[in-house]
Symmetry: C2
Subunit: 315 residues, 2 copies
């Protein structure tokens, strides 16, 4: 099952159930690049100590990003030994862009070739990727959302918001109390952003979100006060909702951590570095600290590369 931003929130309860019932979870991650083109002393060598490998790889992990995570939740079949049912999901991810956050990431041409070979759909990644953030970014966003004055970053956002305000202001001039208009094609964070800006700019309107439409209603000031303080639409609770949307895949990552299921992958060191950097915290400088963190997140890690090496040794 492919899961993008459009499907993610509604699939969360099912995902939580699958993780809770799993015996172990299989993991495979696709990246926009593996190793940056570094000059000689920074290149990976077979003679690197693990800590040297870590420091060199850390740099590439900070530069490239995750475009897809494949997870398979394996649960045993009752009464049948060594038989499992697997539920697999492909999550397309895209770094959260919201307010002050405008991330940059690199693409490596050879990785693009690799992904092409397997029919990767870039539109799913770049147009409908699920947002995510690590704890540090979450702290920043939380701070700016709670202060209610995050800056609109890209010039497009500014233009779009200008167009929307102009449109609503023109309509408002002739509208009567109770009239409503709709703004089509606004979804996700943008819908939250547009609503917040409109509500801040115009004291005699109220906004409601309905699928990909923002509905604007002309209201009196007492009505507005009432709506703002109604239990289901208090700004504080609404802000929580925005943060939940912006955290996206990180919400699921935290579920996965909490479930403490064995995590199984093949040649998964790179995957673990990315999991740490993208959903937990920026990679520490110390390799020991990284190992400690990963083991506290996932106490049981099984890398099938090591398993096969071990079997080969015995053979």
């Amino acid at each position: 099952m492919d899961v993008g931003a459009d499907e993610f929130e509604q699939s969360l309860p099912l995902l939580q159930e699958l993780v809770a019932g799993a015996d172990f979870v299989g993991l495979d991650i696709e990246f926009t690049g593996l190793r940056s083109n570094l000059s000689r002393p920074q290149q990976i060598s077979l003679f690197d100590l693990p800590s040297e490998w870590y420091l060199k790889t850390r740099q590439s992990v900070q530069q490239f990003t995750i475009c897809q995570i494949g997870l398979s939740m394996f649960s045993s079949i009752e009464g049948e030994s060594n038989k499992y049912v697997a539920h697999s999901c492909n999550f397309f991810l895209f770094p959260t862009t919201f307010g002050i956050l405008d991330s940059e990431f690199s693409f490596q041409a050879s990785s693009v070739q690799f992904l092409n070979q397997y029919g990767f759909d870039y539109n799913k990644f770049l147009k409908n990727g699920i947002p995510y953030m690590n704890e540090e970014q979450e702290k920043k966003i939380k701070h700016s959302i709670l202060r209610g004055n995050w800056r609109v970053r890209s010039s497009l956002d500014k233009d779009q918001i200008k167009v929307v305000i102009d449109k609503v202001t023109q309509w408002l001039d002739l509208a009567e109390e109770g009239d409503q208009m709709t703004l089509p094609g606004i979804a996700g964070f943008q819908a939250f952003e547009v609503q917040l800006v409109l509500r801040q700019a115009l004291p005699n309107i109220w906004t409601v979100l309905k699928e990909e439409w923002v509905i604007v209603k002309k209201v009196s000031q007492p009505q507005r006060w009432y709506l703002e303080h109604a239990s289901c639409d208090q700004v504080s609770c609404w802000k929580e909702q925005i943060l939940l949307s912006a955290r996206g895949f990180s919400v699921f990552f935290q579920m996965l951590v909490k479930a403490q299921k064995p995590l199984v992958g093949h040649n998964m060191m790179m995957d673990l570095l990315h999991l740490h950097e993208k959903f937990f915290r920026p990679l520490p400088e110390s390799y020991d600290q990284f190992k400690q963190n990963i083991h506290s997140l996932f106490p049981v890690l099984i890398d099938t590369k090591n398993v096969t090496k071990d079997i080969w040794k015995k053979v």
Copy 2:
């Protein structure tokens, strides 16, 4: 008309004709990012001198890439003054990946949002982008092609080539002289690369390219010698052909330069920096040198931003 790698080579003659007949050429470029998130002293300021703006922008131009170039060839209608016919093409571009060349480029989340807003198709860019290179890269590639021993970069290429060699070797064991086999689904550079590797590895075969098929024929050594020295398949002429394919859009860029037509754009400084860096030479450190280069490439540049400013001043 959308033009990707698949359509590019065959549309070159028509493009050359359109450019030759044009009175002026309109230009608009889309990028994967505009301005890198720089720390304070490196940020663009309204008070920057043009040379300061240039040095700061140069850094972003090196980091981001062109994903699409829109060109419109305007030619006047005979006998009607101030009336033009415009032929417009959208070229999807992707940096050449070939042998030693494995480029990295960045994406900026806000630019992705911008491109999404206009329905940009990332699959056309990342799966079917026309290759290109500047003079410096061309020199490197030429050198490695002429020496005939470029390294295969990505692990996928290595795997693919291993599979192909295994397949051909197995077939060769049982084949008789004159027999032939086909390798399907190999196009573009890869087809050249596969053929060169096969011809180098196996002395008693010959290869021919037919659309997306590489045809392998078992031949005797004298036949092989003859085919290698036949006028239409001399390795040197073949290598020229590879280089022509790898140069891709740069071939058309050079046509455009040679035609010396006025180039018209809106707010086109960024576009000019990218044209210089991607198709001509890496941007020089000196702003004056950049201006000199651009004017020798395109003697007549018309920026409609300056035109409108001028009209506003007069009004």
